[in-house]
Symmetry: C2
Subunit: 265 residues, 2 copies
């Protein structure tokens, strides 16, 4: 079983589910937030009343998740003709550690356009893969090929821009689906590291992802690379925001994602 599928394994049914953290996706303090967000998507997908596919997901990280078991409460708050609103809470020992809201929906054909611009990048195969020291657990699960702004390039000098752009995919490869895309949206290291030129204490407080790809697009995508690019907009008073785009190899925008991050520095 792929380590990502293993991390998404949930027991129970309907509104009450249980899961557990897995060592492969450990982060500094608690599990990688991307996998926690993916667990929320998977929990909703497993609900017998689910309609359609994710349109938006917001996950709030209330505090570190302790390594071990957790419980999920999955509530369909309202079902409309084309959209369905969900509220999810993850708890440990009865105390909430993560809250989330999501909108799932049916897609239909409409006028369409991609206004954001696909970054100018070389093909994935021509960019060197980044290797990470063993102290970083969760990045070992991603093949990351940084075009710009790699984590291991930080040299202690400040940078005027916080952009990182990279080709990435699950490692070993795994067909793309909504949980995988959700997790990848959190795979950018904190933009404050890039600005300061060094790691500092930082943790995502809240993350919102808008899904532009429909289920058919993802089903056809397979195991190809995704181009991710992220940058911060404002840093100060203990927080910064970062905004990201996840592109398909066909230059189609699969998802956009935003987060606000707590930091010391």
């Amino acid at each position: 079983m792929h380590s990502f599928d293993n991390a998404l394994e949930l027991t129970g049914s309907g509104e009450k589910l249980s899961g557990r953290t897995t060592p492969e996706y450990a982060n500094m303090v608690g599990p990688f937030g991307g996998v926690t967000a993916a667990v929320v998507v998977r929990a909703i997908q497993q609900h017998p009343d689910v309609l359609g596919d994710p349109v938006t997901l917001t996950v709030n990280f209330l505090g570190p998740i302790a390594y071990g078991d957790f419980d999920l409460s999955v509530r369909p708050v309202r079902t409309n003709r084309a959209t369905q609103h969900w509220s999810v809470e993850i708890s440990q020992d009865g105390a909430a550690v993560t809250t989330a809201t999501a909108v799932f929906g049916f897609r239909r054909s409409t006028w369409s356009a991609t206004e954001a611009g696909f970054p100018s990048v070389p093909d994935a195969e021509t960019v060197a893969e980044q290797s990470f020291p063993d102290i970083y657990a969760w990045p070992q699960n991603y093949e990351m090929r940084f075009v710009e702004g790699g984590l291991m390039e930080l040299d202690g000098s400040e940078n005027a821009e916080s952009v990182s752009t990279l080709w990435l995919r699950d490692k070993p490869v795994r067909p793309l689906d909504f949980p995988a895309l959700t997790s990848i949206a959190d795979a950018f290291y904190p933009r404050i590291f890039r600005r300061l030129g060094r790691p500092t204490v930082a943790g995502t407080v809240s993350m919102t992802t808008y899904f532009h790809a429909d289920a058919a697009t993802l089903a056809a995508y397979g195991t190809d690379y995704i181009l991710g690019t992220a940058r911060g907009q404002a840093f100060g008073a203990g927080y910064f925001d970062q905004t990201a785009q996840l592109w398909g190899v066909g230059k189609n925008l699969l998802a956009t994602s935003h987060q606000v991050v707590y930091f010391k520095g």
Copy 2:
């Protein structure tokens, strides 16, 4: 009393509050979403256990709010040393119409930088104020001076870019505070109108705002203009996203805001 303060009037205390829509902020179907989002902020601010100021707010619009009374359930889910997580639900006749999550927090001095660029714009006073036909209720509550992409300029021809940039503030003027800033973050008309060159059926599904200004900054701001700019990133399959920046006259980024919008077209 200012019409905005009137719209924010809530009765009750603590976790159970009641409010009502006001005709001044009516939109096509139900009230202007910005005021609904502002009501959520005000409800949390009124809670006796509130700590600090808004860091992030996500509001999900489950369906139109009927004109009239509504109830709020305001729950402090978890309080940490520096952050406090909230869950809010607005209901009518026992059925949820809006869900929201918010993080409030204490700010402290850290390294700071604004990476996003302040748009090149003329001073507010040199830009003509937009007047809106009476059929638009809520925009009458804002003084809007469009630098680019005004609603009344739509002429039926498609545009390659969805950007609108405008100076705006409450009308009549009112000192800026977190509810007002929250509402202003939703004051951009749907970006699909600008791309298509005409209005169409559209409604915000979910909106997330990150607050970069602290309470002292807002308290000192007074009644000056805010520069808002918004653009869509991807349109298709019934939804699009739009991303916005709200700047102070001192070229400081007060808030960034994102939303996903349902549309027909």
